[in-house]
Point group: C2
Chain length 332, copies 2
């Protein structure tokens, strides 16, 4: 089934098709449609956006913007998954929702990637149950890439999906994060560090100690460039590491703390380039990694600017060939 | 022995004696002596500072400051524990160091409290091995109190001593943190929250889930005012909690992240009242809690201002009667 669609829909036109959940986020579909329009001028003519959502509403917004409806492919989905819905149950009961429909199309190869500012829970269910983990990947993960004060980007993973991780899972994050930094961010030999509460080897909790041993072994095998432990104080200087590996409980705490501090700064009228880079509007898309297709999520509060950035980063991921590289790495 | 000294040295004069490790910190003894001088004007005439360190050096600094040597008690200690020393071994091999001598005096009741900007590792060894945990306390801990944007203070514990904690240890942090906020910070009914990656009960890793159950039980028993989970984004607004309980791995990550961001802000000339409050110079003292006497540590980079604040917070702790209250709580 998958290959049939790939053949019929994709190869003859050689077009990258990015599915957008037009119903995802606090102010959908308006914000999503506006963001998709913004994205268009950054994408090549080889890219087509496919919006999944309530077609009449989408067409009304396009009309209000003075834009013809044929600028996007629109797949009408009468239903939608709401933030209060149980994600797993929704995939059974809401087959006609934007997210479920889009995931089915992604699995069938009718689109090449999917991006949504809707329920992250539902997106994870779709990623795991429909798109499925790459063979060999223990746990798909989500990663955050943000600018550092050195001008480079640091990629942190996991930021909240997998907690109480086995050390083997953290070791795989090094492979995934390193390849992401190479292929999508464009780094030559990204430095991978393990988040810890001390710099020396032998520091940390049981999980960190065991992960350190596995990462050292992986480094010797040439799987990635492991540079040792990093303390949280050094994450955002970019001076020590390009990829920071941690358990989802700690990673989630880090990004929520940053979010809270960003909000405090904003309400105190305190900002600069560094803190602007921490804004979810700029961050835009957060990739779900370790699955068979590019899937990106974004903050529910996303503005059109954030949606635009989510779409661009999804496009970058498709063009990068990351998925094939990951597939290859985990087959070895 | 303990009681004999208490009788001879303390009761007749009813003087609070605070021991200061004059050799602790990157620029000791100069910075420490200057900080102690600064502290004097904030302390009552019922308080006497006892400096442990190289007596001739201390006297030279006092002389340079134009201050008579009799302003402090000075206990000459020819040796000192350095940052590279093994803390536990130092307590055997360096009996004549400032830290070991001061801890012995504290155990004997010759001083009422001890403060140091020296090796935190050595201070923890002294706290656990010489002063010893209060009966019933599973793990002594260190707590950080910082100002929030609401103007109140939030106390976070543990910030790096105990990792891979049993849930029972986190439950005890609620007792310890709550009493600290009441007695030392002066809050009526401090709100205690569990750091977690979601607000609803049932969220988090195995440790957090188990701790949540114990804290709910303790709340029903009236041990403290447990208000549920808190996400890291809300720690510094002060709107939800006055005491935040977490495993030392996460707590240490939080304070190191704050330290790193503070440094980034400083180098970008970005500051305001909130970030000034996060400066270790202002924080001054970090109490070791759950042991039989008040012991305070401070950052190795402490300035005289930070040393002054460490001494004042140590004095506040002695005056608060916290230790007796904690003793009582853990006896119940």
């Amino acid at each position: 089934m998958l290959y049939w669609y790939k053949y019929v829909y994709k190869h003859p036109v050689e077009m990258i098709k990015i599915g957008i959940d037009a119903m995802g986020g606090d102010n959908a579909p308006e914000v999503v449609v506006k963001g998709a329009i913004k994205a268009l001028s950054y994408l090549g003519t080889d890219c087509r956006l496919v919006l999944y959502g309530h077609k009449p509403s989408i067409e009304t917004i396009l009309d209000q913007q003075g834009i013809g409806a044929d600028i996007f492919d629109i797949v009408h989905t009468p239903d939608q998954i709401n933030m209060g819905d149980n994600p797993a149950e929704s995939f059974i009961s809401k087959q006609e929702s934007s997210i479920v429909k889009a995931f089915n199309h992604l699995a069938e190869g009718r689109i090449d990637a999917l991006a949504s500012a809707g329920s992250t829970g539902a997106m994870m269910v779709g990623a795991k149950m429909i798109i499925k983990p790459l063979s060999g990947v223990l746990r798909p993960t989500i990663a955050l890439s943000v600018p550092t004060t050195s001008g480079s980007k640091v990629t942190i993973l996991d930021i909240g999906i997998n907690i109480d991780c086995k050390p083997e899972v953290l070791e795989q994050y090094a492979v995934i994060g390193s390849l992401y930094a190479r292929k999508v961010i464009g780094m030559d030999s990204p430095r991978v560090a393990l988040l810890n509460i001390g710099e020396e080897s032998g520091k940390g909790n049981a999980q960190a100690k065991a992960a350190y041993a596995l990462l050292s072994k992986g480094n010797k095998q040439g799987k990635y460039n492991f540079v040792g432990n990093i303390e949280a104080s050094h994450i955002f200087t970019g001076e020590r590491a390009d990829v920071v590996v941690c358990d989802g409980f700690v990673g989630n705490t880090i990004i929520k703390l940053i979010e809270g501090l960003h909000k405090i700064n904003t309400s105190n009228n305190l900002t600069d380039n560094f803190w602007r880079g921490m804004d979810y509007e700029q961050i835009g898309g957060i990739p779900i990694l370790g699955i068979n297709a590019p899937v990106t999520v974004a903050h529910g509060k996303s503005t059109p600017e954030a949606i635009k950035n989510m779409i661009i980063s999804t496009h970058d991921t498709v063009k990068s060939g990351l998925i094939n590289q990951l597939k290859k790495s985990f087959q070895d």
